[in-house]
Amino acid sequence: MTDPASPFAPPAGLLPAGLMDLLPPEAEREAALVEALMAGFTRHGYERVKPPLLEFEDSLLAGSGAAVAEQTFRLMDPVSQRMMGLRADTTPQVARIAATRLGLQGRPLRLCYAGQVLRVRGSQLAPERQMPQAGIELIGTASPAADAEVATVAAEALGAVGVAPISLDITLPTMTPTLLDLSGLPAERRQGLAHALDRKDAAMVAALSAEAGVLAACLPALLAAAGPADAALAALAAAPLPQAAREIADNAAAIIAAIRRRAPGLRLTLDPAEFRGFRYHVGVAFTLYGPGRSGELARGGRYLSLNDEPATGMTLYPDAVLRAAPAAPPRPRLFLPEGTPEAVAAGFRAQGFATVAALSAADAPRALRCTHILRDGQAVPLPKE
């Protein structure tokens, strides 16, 4: 007689919210995809680093890490008695490596990484609490060519795994704060205006900025400029921007021109008034969108690395890329009856088959998920059921 399951034990197989097992064939697809993306980065001279999963929270949450502080799992290190964090983002770790162990290496520094990150809470839209990241960081240069490079290298890596069409959205997270600072509006009005800009509420932006002098002329124009990059740049050029804002716009134009030279076919959109979700960016920020509703596949942009070193980078989300990329045909599985010579098996493996050797007479090809069976020295496809 078996005991009934304890009412307090979780049902077998139940995982904590937001965590999942990847099974065949998705686990293999994801791993292959990450390696393909990394190969794309390596081809452009980005060298791979592998930071640990855990580190002291003061280094993990420094700089751009502050933006994910509330999403970071923490635990006490029983050895050092100091608080550690499980990374919720890899960029702060790469920044630490660049500032310390690779501090003396020549600049600009090109680094790439791939690994899992964890976050405390999923959202209703994105319930995952563990997810893969693969990214590049270009540290030690402030030139527009660097921004263009990370954006196009990321887009090219996506293209190489079969994601098409890709569109790159460029935002200027410093534009709105700069204009609001110049406006001389009281803090309360400024907050209302920021809120309206965030919602893209054109009527409210026009009403709130009406008496704000310089802003009245350019904020509504900025909002209306969002869209395909060329039209947006033309609208920016026509807007009566103050000097500080003009510099931001000129920088964006230089970056877009550099991207066009590197990747003429990439679809570009520009949203000069957007600043949502780019908390630590100090220059242009990028989002790569896949086809249809596959959504955001990568994000990045310019930030300040440790020691105020200028840096720019892109993070790709392989789980999202996996949904957007066409599925490669699975590796055929060849069933080897008992007694198949090893040399024959090795020959088929060299042709790309996965060989599944029968270990007893009871092994059946179909139950072992084989697609082919070895008969008279030939790989014969099993009929589909």
């Binding site: 919602r199 009527a203 869209g227 395909p228 249809g292």
Partner: protein, 232 residues
């Protein structure tokens, strides 16, 4: 570098399919008619029939379909990208605060307010600055919690979907946080409005990914609604 906001592409319709406009059933539906008409949208005839079992309606524009869902669900459909544009109250946006939604247009219809109300008998009887917690009945748990947290009070929210006005008299909660249009329901149940948290009107909302990847189409629709408002 930032956390992703993935999208469930597995369930996605073809990107070239008709655009989906999510509309709220109930209170706003009647007020919405003239706005749709001025924007040149004519949904199938049974769209206004609340008894119709259909949930998705074609329109005079083959590139636009309308779905009719609960007001709270409009935001959910648009946030997930199941609908690319929608119309819902600012109350829903305040409650959910989805980063995936833009609200570019205030349609000025469905005007009401989110308020705190309590029984006339207890209102003003004690000093709220001494409270450390309060029982609130609401269908807006996040708004209620934020409102009280801002003044250092922990709100214990009893989440109800309707008939909030009963809660104080039956001992479920001390106050309610609810949508108030005329105040007559409150009055009929012996409650008085003690605080207005926010004024609410209906907004045109759009999905962020849709606006970024199909800027021409989505912007054209926003412009049509803006023109429809200007006409009114």
């Amino acid at each position: 570098m930032d956390l992703p906001i993935p999208d469930s592409a597995a369930l996605a319709p073809a990107p070239t399919g008709p655009l989906i406009l999510a509309l709220p059933k109930g209170r706003i539906l009647a007020e919405l008619g003239p706005v749709l008409a001025r924007a040149g949208i004519v949904p199938a005839a049974d769209y206004v029939d609340e008894d119709s079992r259909r949930l998705r309606f074609e329109t005079n524009d083959p590139a636009l379909d309308v779905v009719r869902v609960r007001p709270f669900d409009v935001a959910t459909f648009v946030a997930h990208g199941a609908a690319q544009i929608g119309i819902c109250g600012a109350d829903v946006l305040m409650e959910f605060d989805y980063p995936e939604i833009y609200a570019p247009l205030d349609l000025g219809i469905g005007s009401c307010r989110i308020s705190v109300a309590e029984p006339a008998a207890t209102a003003g009887q004690d000093d709220p600055s001494r409270w450390s917690r309060i029982a609130v009945a609401s269908k807006y748990p996040n708004i209620a919690q934020r409102h009280y947290a801002a003044r250092g009070v922990q709100a214990e929210v009893v989440h109800l979907n309707g008939a909030m006005e009963l809660a104080p008299s039956l001992g479920l909660a001390r106050v309610i946080v609810d949508l108030v249009q005329t105040g007559s329901t409150l009055k009929a149940n012996g409650l008085i409005e003690t605080e207005v948290i926010a004024h609410v009107t209906s907004r045109l909302i759009v999905n962020r990914t849709a606006l970024k990847t199909r800027p021409e189409v989505i912007s054209a629709w926003i412009a049509r609604f803006r023109a429809a408002l200007a006409e009114a």
